[in-house]
């Protein structure tokens, strides 16, 4: 859906997004149900679950058969003014995202959950129930897939971003040692060839480590998901869905991996973990697209 389409639709239907909130006065009072997660119906205690909205509007369950939506009433203006210009710990986006995460975690501590992406709002309880009906089978399947599991993030990172990296090796300026410029074109070419071979070797070595890490860790996980590797020196990023009962083995694997990596100074990689997370990376619904 393009922005133009969306804007046209907004004009027709009245309620609108926070992004367009300043285009119509009616929006200021528009309300909706902010949805945090789909969950199994259980005896849940939601009294202390954080809320995106005002403190009076605590999250509650909207049940449909054997699944439920965890949602809280919000004024849509709460989601107003979200900007990516400021992503520090105290930015509005960060605070809301943290609240969303805390709410999902509070529920995940009690039963299995499918976290919904930040910013999911349905119009009212009837819409929530229609949503649960339409997604029932897939939600059940995913809920049983993640049942008893938590998500752990694992990254391989080049130890020092200033150290040798595939992108830096092979630069002509780094080929000769200081004070020892190549004496001839032949020597230059030989040096260049050698540098390229070293770079290829380093890349292959690191790729082997990545493969080894994944092959090892996934044996202790119910599922895994590739993540975009980004950030300084990050070569590989993945998420593992690990049963709570299998976490000891998973941790042991990670620790062994870390120890082995320390013995390979040439590769210069270190392992980094994050978690536990609710199963954010394992809640993708089939056929989900931005234009669904």
């Amino acid at each position: 859906m393009t922005r133009n389409t969306a804007a046209g639709r907004d004009a027709d239907t009245g309620p609108t997004t926070a992004r367009d909130a300043d285009t119509g006065p009616a929006v200021q009072s528009a309300r909706g149900l902010y949805a945090y997660a789909i969950t199994s119906v259980d005896d849940l205690d939601l009294a202390d679950v954080p809320t995106i909205g005002s403190s009076a509007d605590t999250p509650h369950l909207i049940r449909q058969g054997d699944i439920a939506l965890v949602a809280s009433d919000i004024a849509l203006s709460v989601l107003d003014d979200l900007t990516a210009d400021d992503v520090t710990d105290n930015s509005k986006l960060a605070r809301l995202a943290r609240t969303h995460d805390s709410a999902v975690r509070a529920v995940a501590a009690q039963t299995s959950v499918l976290p919904l992406r930040f910013g999911t709002v349905v119009t009212d309880a009837d819409a929530a129930i229609r949503l649960l009906r339409s997604r029932h089978d897939e939600a059940r399947r995913l809920l049983s897939h993640v049942d008893g599991c938590q998500e752990w993030g694992v990254r391989l990172r080049v130890e020092s971003p200033a150290g040798p990296s595939p992108g830096q090796a092979g630069q002509p300026g780094q080929l000769g040692q200081a004070g020892q410029p190549p004496r001839s074109g032949t020597a230059y070419l030989a040096q260049r060839k050698k540098a390229r071979a070293e770079k290829d070797h380093l890349e292959a070595r690191r790729h082997t480590w990545i493969q080894t890490a994944h092959d090892t860790l996934r044996t202790h996980a119910r599922d895994s998901a590739a993540r975009v590797a980004r950030g300084p020196g990050v070569l590989w990023d993945a998420a593992y869905l690990v049963a709570r009962s299998g976490e000891a083995e998973f941790f042991a694997s990670v620790e062994q991996l870390a120890q082995r990596l320390r013995t390979d100074a040439l590769a210069g990689l270190e392992v980094e973990t994050s978690g536990p997370w609710p199963p954010y990376s394992f809640a993708h619904m089939e056929g989900e697209t931005a234009d669904a």
Binding site: A6, R9, D10, P15, T17, A18, G32, L79, T83, A84, D86, V87, T88, A94, R98, D101, P115, L116, R117, F118, G119, V122, T123, A127, R130, L131, S134, L142, G167, A204, H207, T208, Q211, T212, H214, D215, T216, A226, A229, R230, G231, W236, A238, F251, A252, E255, Q256, Q259, D264, E272, T273, S274, G275, P276, W277, Y280, A283, E288, A290, A292
Partner: protein, 88 residues
């Protein structure tokens, strides 16, 4: 995400068997405080999507969803300036 066939470890490098050897003492992972990047990467970029953007009517369901795609691009740029995006 990975080739079916792992590259052959070269001499001196570990094999998966070595890594999974049992009996090596280990400590549990110490949960690190989630960085804001990790948090947003998951909360904003992952999680089940049950609707399209903005307001949609999907099979009679009226859903409102923020158009977060532009926001996401901005977050990515702000968190990872000058970082080359690579997939695993």
């Amino acid at each position: 995400m990975h080739d079916a066939k792992a590259p052959q470890p070269t001499s001196g490098e570990p094999t998966a068997d070595q890594l999974t050897a049992h009996g090596v003492a280990s400590e549990p992972i110490t949960p690190q405080r989630a960085s804001i990047a990790d948090l947003l990467d998951r909360v904003v970029d992952q999680g089940a999507v049950v609707s399209g953007d903005v307001i949609i009517s999907l099979a009679g369901i009226d859903l409102i969803r923020l158009d977060l795609r532009l926001l996401l691009i901005g977050v990515d740029r702000a968190l990872h300036p000058r970082t080359e995006r690579r997939t695993a």
